[in-house]
Amino acid sequence: MSNALLQYTTVFILSAFVGVEIISKVPSILHTPLMSGSNAIHGVILVGAMLVLGEANTNLEEVLGFIAVILATLNVVGGFVVTDRMLELFKSKSPTTKKPKVEEDAK
């Protein structure tokens, strides 16, 4: 077993515990945005896709890397935009945004 593997395994195990600890405190109403947000975060595979495309030596590697970049970008961008759109909705009922609406209704 190499030192590198040991180091990565350490990071893996610590991250697993952090992931569990953080999530266990989330109220159920935020589960959908949370799922969507974590969906965006695993889009970090884009970094991996860039690395393999950037190192590609053969045409096949190039094609596969290119497709990976497209798919990963979809994941990352789509994930963040959808999550933001969901959370935008939660924000919109503070008293300040409600007031002008009432005035509008009165007109």
Binding site: S28, G54, R85
Partner: protein
């Protein structure tokens, strides 16, 4: 400081933003900020990656192609995410998750081809294979989940004789291929593994249907996280390991919470083809028993002269796009001095929290939304429980009938309110396909029709009272 160290610091910052973001996503006030922080961290990581140099000090090749790929991704993803109906959110999450899994699988495959000549250590190959297997299952599984939710195919579980055996054979085939590739390092066999994993994802998801699909998406989300972590091991990237593992761990926890909210264990959801069993029993229930149905006038007057109404919304409301009409009805009732609250079942809509998002979109105040446990202690004081497009989440069979497939699922105790009003399209059973005794209860009154139409009629009746 060397360029490599600077890039690693950028990655460290990005990993930290992801942890902070997940924490912030747990609070309604900071959730949006959390998402933006993660997006900023992601941008930093991607920009830093452009400066990457390999061990020989050579920068990344194919930068224009990379930029083209990113541009294509952005051009497709942004409009899809911006303009799709908010009711279609579960599908959208499914598809964005699936492509992430596909990307992870491709990264692992490509990296394998790249390092194969150097005879990598066995554990490196194993990481590659796990990345390919998990990522591909997540990809094809998410595609099927998308098709089910988008109603491109039946949402019901698909079962056939010998299904478990066939699934087991494919799982064993995948395992055998992994062993064979570890021994031979064959690229051909790697593609065979890719194909087997692709089929495995499909046949794994086919028997899961109905209300279980969101739980499945959450599980596949977690899978993608693990596939990304596996790619991180192969590429030697701490960032990918941290982010992938965070998602993998949290996703499994979230999946468990969701299945718990439905009163069922995860293996039960994944392997028991729930819906098919129920269609069999549900069909036998006598649907010609008498029910009490009312006119909008009856029910409007009832609502207007009550003192406390608890609204229990379900997916039928979302399908009919009736959230605005519902909010309007609630506001008119409140202006008459009626106390109105919303009882949100954890799995109302199609995902936990989905209903909150839908109601928030209709400007329903956040404080009015009560979670199930909170409202259940209070529901006996209500004059009317107004059930709008929900069914299974108020089915007393979950408490009273040990033989019922949903027995043990926590429900909103609508049956404890003095009166129960159902706005329903028809007598057809809900998502789970189970007969609901509450519909036949003498204190229950039904208003048939599309939820939005019914609500609009009720609004005009209450206005006129």
């Amino acid at each position: 400081m060397s360029r490599g160290t600077l890039i690693d610091i950028a990655y460290l910052i990005a990993a930290t933003t992801f942890i902070v973001a997940l924490k912030f996503l747990g609070s309604p006030k900071r959730a949006r900020l959390g998402n933006l922080i993660a997006a900023a961290g992601m941008t930093l990581a991607v920009v830093a990656t452009f400066f990457h140099q390999n061990a020989q000090g050579r920068g990344l090749l194919h930068i224009p192609l990379m930029l083209l790929g990113m541009a294509i991704g952005v051009v497709v993803a942004v409009p899809a995410a911006r303009f799709m109906q908010i009711t279609a959110m579960p599908q959208l999450v499914a598809i964005f998750n699936g492509v992430g899994g596909g990307a992870a699988a491709l990264v692992s495959i490509t990296e394998f081809m790249h390092i194969k000549a150097g005879h990598p250590a066995t554990y490196v190959t194993l990481e590659v294979l796990l990345g390919v297997l998990i990522g591909t299952v997540s990809f094809s599984g998410s595609a099927i989940a998308y098709a089910k939710l988008q109603e491109l195919m039946t949402g019901r579980p698909i079962t056939y004789p010998g299904q478990q055996v066939i699934n087991a054979i494919f799982a064993l085939a995948a395992l055998a291929l992994i062993v064979a590739i570890l021994v031979t390092s064959s690229t051909v066999l790697l593609w065979a593994l890719f194909a087997v994993a692709f089929i495995l994802g499909i046949i794994f998801v086919l028997p899961i249907g109905g209300a279980d699909v969101p739980v499945l998406i959450s599980l596949l989300n977690s899978f993608t996280g693990l596939a990304v972590a596996a790619s991180g091991f192969t590429l030697g990237s701490n960032l990918l390991i941290v982010a992938g593992t965070l998602v993998g761990a949290s996703g499994i926890l979230l999946t468990r919470m969701m299945s718990k909210a439905m009163g069922r264990s995860l293996p039960n959801i994944l392997f028991s083809a729930f819906g098919s069993v129920i269609t069999a029993t549900g069909g036998a229930g006598g649907s010609d028993r008498p029910v009490r149905s009312g006119t909008p006038e009856d029910i409007g007057v009832m609502l207007a002269y009550s003192s406390k109404v608890i609204i229990i919304p379900g997916y039928g409301l979302a399908v009919a796009q009736g959230q605005q009409a519902l909010r309007e009805l609630a506001e008119i009732l409140e202006s008459r001095g009626v106390e109105v609250e919303y009882a949100i079942h954890p799995v109302a809509g199609r995902m936990p929290g989905h209903m909150n998002v839908l109601l928030a979109e209709a400007n329903v105040p956040y404080e009015k939304l009560k979670e199930m446990d909170e409202i259940n202690s209070d529901i006996a004081t209500a004059d009317i429980a107004l059930v709008v497009g929900a069914n299974d989440t108020v089915n007393p069979a979950a408490k009273n009938e040990p033989t019922s497939p949903i027995y043990g699922m926590p429900i909103i105790n609508a049956d404890q309110a003095e009166n129960v009003v159902f706005l329903k399209r028809s007598m057809r059973p809900g998502f789970a396909g189970i007969e609901n005794e509450l519909l036949y209860d003498p204190k229950t009154i039904l208003l048939f029709g599309d939820a939005k139409d019914s609500l609009t009629k009720l609004v005009s009746v209450v206005k006129g009272v």
